[in-house]
Amino acid sequence: MLLLEKSLIYFVIATYLFITLAPLLWVLSTSFKPNPEAIGFPPQYLPGKPTLDNYIFVLTDPKLVISLFNSLAVSLASTGLSVAVSALGGYAFARFDFKGKNLLISIILGLFMIPVVINIIPLYIMLANVGLLNSIFALVLTFQILIIPLNIFLLKNYFETIPKELEEAALIDGCSKIRAFWHVIVPISMPGFLIAAILSFRFSWNEFVLPVVLSNRPDVMVFQVALYQFISLYRIDWGYLTAGINIALIPVVVLMLFFQKKMIRGLTLGAVRG
């Protein structure tokens, strides 16, 4: 590599690395400043009097704590449900030939492409009419539409990488296909389930539009919505808010960094191969 080329490459990387990390670091630094200092001008890069007060405020405010628990419950429940449901569906696509298979694949792929937000008005009216607004249960069900299509493709592709001979041995031994799935495929597909679970968690934890419309009563509010209410409720206390931001992004960023390589593979498997 030429020196010029090399320096150009490192210049591009360094620049975008700065663009990527600077906002995060700035928010991180602000979260340790007392409220007046957080919006002080000129801004101080590092907190002059570092404090944990903002985090203590967020983690002791009853409304915010409830919403954190709601977020955790909704995310875990919808992750579990979607992985289970998508594993069954993905297995059907990977191992069976049946009428309408290609049509169904196309429909599900098409649905995955179409963002859920354009559904919020009919969903709101529908749930209002059956009395399921402000219900954690309904929230978990509606979150499925965000994740099931992606998970089905991810797991379908994963199952297809498993040699058929494994199940055939079990089938010869007299197992039904369903039993073969449960006893042979499920145990060795844990890495695939893990990718699906992490992506599901990320989508559920971060989702804002569905819960802001479908469940905005304090007792069923999720964290992203509670933070949003927080800015309209109080005048914006940026110290508190930046602490809230960091609490909201820690779980997903840690998961993603930890499983980064698997994620990239999983995402491209799901998105590209379809």
Binding site: P43, G89, L109, P122, I125, I148, N206, I245, V272
Partner: protein, 292 residues
């Protein structure tokens, strides 16, 4: 015989839970939206009988200058976001694909903005671009430049949103095009180098043509997502000042949940669904032709 029949049903049974959920919460609402857009539904009449009004909601939209404005705002927001995300994403994907040390660690760091939510991105940039105490204006001041009204000037606000959306969305393009670059056999570069082609030439004459299917699909996906994306905008500006940063998808949300005009929102939703279906259809067409 009976057993065979049961065997044929198996795949449908396996798919039943997924299809039931998708039908109830995705397909049905998608179709029902058409019905809603032809009736008069508001937040106050949501539980009573709705009056059939034909195309009145659509007629109202055509006359609504705020809606016209939203189309224009969408055009800038989508055009700007797609152009920036694609250009920056492509440059980064190619650069990271050169043999450099720590490229995996770098990819992991670059991916962070995409893993965090739009709401969180919105808050962070609202803070950074604050007119009075934001660090952007402080930086401009240090350089001897006048402060900019990033979020309160109707002419600037959309571009500020485009920047925030670029930060949030670019990593997807980086990952997607990286997957595309991985699929290219290094042998073709070797051959080109022996023939004396420069790296730049190699990019335009070899990489880009081979990457074409990935590029097109990537463009369709980020276009579709930008068309519908509004949580970031909701948090940063709430569509304001007035309607100057209200994209069509945010216009839909505001009509429905700010002004309570659910069926007017549904009419906008119908237009958005049509846009999305066209985009999704072209995606599938291209994906199929790529398979062959």
């Amino acid at each position: 015989m009976l057993e065979q029949k049961a065997g044929m049903l198996q795949p449908y049974l396996l798919l039943a839970p997924a299809l039931a959920i998708l039908t109830a919460f995705l397909l049905f609402p998608l179709a029902w939206n058409v019905y809603l857009s032809l009736h008069d539904v508001s937040l106050t009449t949501i539980l009573s009988d709705w009056k059939y009004v034909g195309l009145k909601n659509f007629a109202n939209l055509i006359r609504d200058s705020d809606f016209h404005m939203s189309l224009f705002v969408s055009l800038i927001f989508v055009g700007g976001s797609v152009a920036l995300q694609f250009f920056v994403g492509m440059v980064l994907a190619v650069v990271l694909n050169q043999q450099i040390k720590g490229s995996n660690t770098l990819r992991a760091l670059f991916i962070i903005p995409w893993t965090i939510s739009a709401v969180i991105t919105g808050f962070s940039f609202k803070f950074i671009f604050n007119d009075s105490f934001g660090i952007m204006n402080y930086g401009l001041g240090q350089l001897g430049l006048a402060p900019v009204s990033w979020l309160s000037d109707p002419g600037t606000v959309v571009w500020t949103l485009v920047v925030a959306n670029m930060w949030h969305g670019t990593p997807f393009t980086v990952i997607f095009l990286t997957a595309g670059l991985f699929s290219i056999n290094p042998v073709v570069y070797e051959a080109a180098r022996i023939d004396g082609a420069t790296k730049i030439k190699g990019f335009f004459y070899i990489t880009l043509p081979l990457l074409r299917p990935f590029v097109i699909i990537n463009l369709i996906l980020i276009t579709m997502w930008s068309v519908n994306f509004f949580d970031l905008i909701l948090v940063m500006t709430n569509g304001g000042p007035l309607f100057s940063s209200t994209t069509s998808s945010l216009f839909m949300y505001r009509q429905a949940f700010e002004f309570g005009l659910l069926s007017k929102g549904a009419a906008v939703g119908f237009l958005l669904i049509a846009t999305n279906l066209v985009l999704a259809y072209s995606y599938m067409k291209l994906l199929r032709s790529q398979d062959k």
